[in-house]
């Protein structure tokens, strides 16, 4: 073997390649650091503990969804419906809790059941996506574009175009889930951390994670290599659905209501977070760490827009749109 190894191509070349790859992987982190420097220079309130906690808490919803989205995109799929799905779950959960509360008598159990329902609904919606995509052989883009409309329309229907509001006694019980903190760190941030850690372990250290990457890199090769392609793809959508469920159960106590504008453009933010984090839109390769950094980076941009008046905060989504297009542009020749 040593003889074979020495016969090989210039080691300098591969070292340079590794170094370049590493630098590319550091891109999002460097971007985030630069943004933070800019933020600090522009507004002295930026670097305060309060503001940082605030930014991270707001990142939690999108970040958690983005972790699930990372699996779907790495496997070569896409889910455009997550914002509408979150809105419909939020509305359904609130309606269910309001209905259950007088019957159960215990507001605590009502909230627990409501949270469980959020997870179950997320998993069920994800399962429906997965089945339509794998067994129904429909493009994920079309399936989730369809459900994007369906989910939001049903929420609008349930809310009669207005807001669905959680009963006051339940809000009091539920609100610590969003407003509470543990060891000085808000609960949503803790949940975000746990989701990201679990996601990272699943993607990198399980057979499922490896199969997700294999399918995204080349589905045919994976099929020929005896990977159960349909099952793995289906599970990525269920996983994303559960992530949307988790994000929603954290979101409901924040305002205690759901309306037709709930979760608007979350799909843009979640997909942008994944892509900004260095995951190839074509699938095959991606990291959870990158996704987390991408999500934080996007909310820092939004935060800076809020704190300064250089660009109107109304243009937040436009900035995210430009960012995702710019990053995809830079990714063009990578593969």
């Amino acid at each position: 073997m040593p003889q074979e190894l020495t016969k090989a191509a210039a080691p300098a070349a591969s070292q340079a390649g590794q170094w370049l790859a590493k630098l590319q992987g550091m891109g999002p982190v460097i971007g985030l650091v630069l943004l933070c420097v800019v933020g600090t220079l522009l507004n002295s309130n930026f670097a305060t503990l309060d503001n940082i906690t605030n930014v991270l808490t707001r990142t939690a919803f999108i970040g958690i969804i983005a972790v699930g989205m990372c699996f779907v995109i790495v496997s070569g799929g896409i889910d455009l419906s997550v914002g509408s799905m979150a809105a419909l779950i939020a509305g359904s959960v609130i309606l269910a809790m309001n209905y259950l509360s007088p019957h159960l008598g215990s507001p605590v159990w009502t909230v627990v059941l409501g949270m469980a329902l959020a997870l179950v609904l997320g998993a069920a919606f994800g399962l429906a996506h997965g089945l339509l995509i794998t067994k129904g052989r429909i493009e994920p883009f079309i399936v989730t574009l369809g459900t994007l409309g369906i989910f939001r329309a049903y929420l609008t229907y349930f809310s009669n175009g207005g807001a669905i509001t959680l009963d006051n006694d339940l809000t009091d019980i539920y609100s610590p889930v969003y407003y509470g903190s543990l060891a000085g760190i808000p609960i949503p941030v803790w949940v975000f951390l746990v989701v990201a850690l679990v996601g990272s372990v699943i993607l990198n250290r399980t057979t499922f994670g490896r199969y997700v990457q294999a399918i995204g890199s080349n589905e045919q090769v994976a099929r020929y290599a005896a990977v159960d392609v349909d099952r793995v793809k289906l599970l990525t959508y269920v996983l994303l659905g559960v992530c949307v469920g988790i994000a929603t159960l954290l979101y409901v106590p924040r305002l205690g209501s759901a309306s037709p504008t709930t979760g608007l453009l979350w799909e843009l933010e979640a997909i942008a977070a994944v892509i900004v984090g260095g995951t190839a839109l074509k699938g095959g390769a991606g990291t959870i760490t990158g996704t987390v950094v991408g999500a934080v980076l996007l909310s820092v941009i939004s935060n800076i827009l809020n704190l300064t008046s250089i660009i109107s905060v109304y243009l937040n989504a436009a900035v995210q749109g430009f960012v995702i297009i710019a990053v995809a542009f830079m990714q063009r020749s990578k593969r």
Partner: protein, 504 residues
Amino acid sequence: MSQGERLSMDIEFRGTTKSFGPVQVLHGVDFSLPTGQVLGLLGENGAGKSTLMKILAGFEHATGGSLLVNGVVQHFTSSRDAEAQGIVLIHQEFSLAEDLTIAQNLFLGHEKKRGWGGLLLDEETMRTEAQAAIAQVGLSADVNTRVKDLIVAEKQLVEIARALLRKARVLIMDEPTATLTPTETERLFGLMRQLKSEGVTLVYISHKLDEVERMTDQVVVMRDGRCVAQQPTASLSRQQMANLMVGRELADLYPPKAARPTSATPALRVQGLSVPGWAQDVSFEVRPGEILGFAGLVGAGRTELFEGIMGLRARNAGTVELQGKVQTIRNPRDAVRLGLTYLSEDRKGKGLHVHFGLRENLTLMALERYATPWLQPALEDQALAHAVDEFGIRTGSLHIKASSLSGGNQQKVALAKVLHPGPKVVVLDEPTRGVDVGAKRDIYLLIQKLASQGLAVVIISSELMELIGLCHRVAVMRAGRLQTVLESQQLTEEELIAHATGTH
């Protein structure tokens, strides 16, 4: 412009160099194309043949040196520039738009226009000219046929017709016979002779030394980015060509055969199997330690038969027995669990994750072994180091993408991958396609070693010499049916071709 003037063309490379980033692939190549002749360009994978020809055809730019066309230094910036000079490269993977018709493909990018200052397409003229062009290359098809409905050999003729429409004076063909059957190959050779008689200079890149010997006037041998020999073909034997390519004495390509095992229960027995549209009522068996070949023309249904057995395609009749037990194989997972694995002929499309590392490729089919329940990259790396050793994979580092290996070494990784689950039966579809002579020999030795250890091996191949040199028996398929199974002593090229073409 007179005919002679149109066709005469002198092309010379002077000290041509090419680097991809820090990797230099051409180290100063000097040679000139023999005008109006057929030049065989030989070399192992990675020797730089394709890169050199891509520079000539305008697909790549040289880093240094110069390219002289009729004594004038040329810097082609695109394939269009080269085409304008009459230099056309026909790629190994065709560059045809599958959903367009033959006529539309022939004029793609050079459409004829009419009316209103050329706003409309002149379909009429294009169809007429296209029909004439494909007749010239001996393709009898309607020019309104979509390219995706053509077989590989016909697509190749469309490519050549397109080159002729561009008034090609130099035609470069990269492995044109790799996917052709013997009859189709003969037809192509006929066309090549015709083109040569019309004064076209042909460059023929191939691994098939017998074809190079037959068809070319001169050979240029490249090794490690340099031109190591340019000689009249007649002055070299095949053995000498092979030696020049690898730069060392190459012992006989095929190792001596072991005796055919006859006693044991068949490791795989297939009876009356049908794959709709591809294979009807096929029965055969292969014993542990036996190497069974599958010969046949492209489209004879060999690949599809085995994809049917693996559960990759629907099958509607027949039974599959493994180690004497009838088994139901619904998908490749079932097959792997039962000890049957398949290596696809399409390495980039179905065989290997080229953007993945070697480790991820190697362990993909046996990944459960490394999950306890978390994957153990350290254990995977150990397995990779072992496989690199066992399969003679030449790589600088264990942690590189499969795409950075040469074709031959990629194929060794693919082999290691399908053998990693420890199958009892392995089906290798075109195991040496696009692989250089040195790697071929390594793969043959490997297959024999595995067979001698009791593995049952099925080899599907279009290279008859390979089947004859390696297999105990060869099954011949034609139009979805198994024609015959030839025993070792009956194995000759003539016999195989006769059964494959139905002229027996």
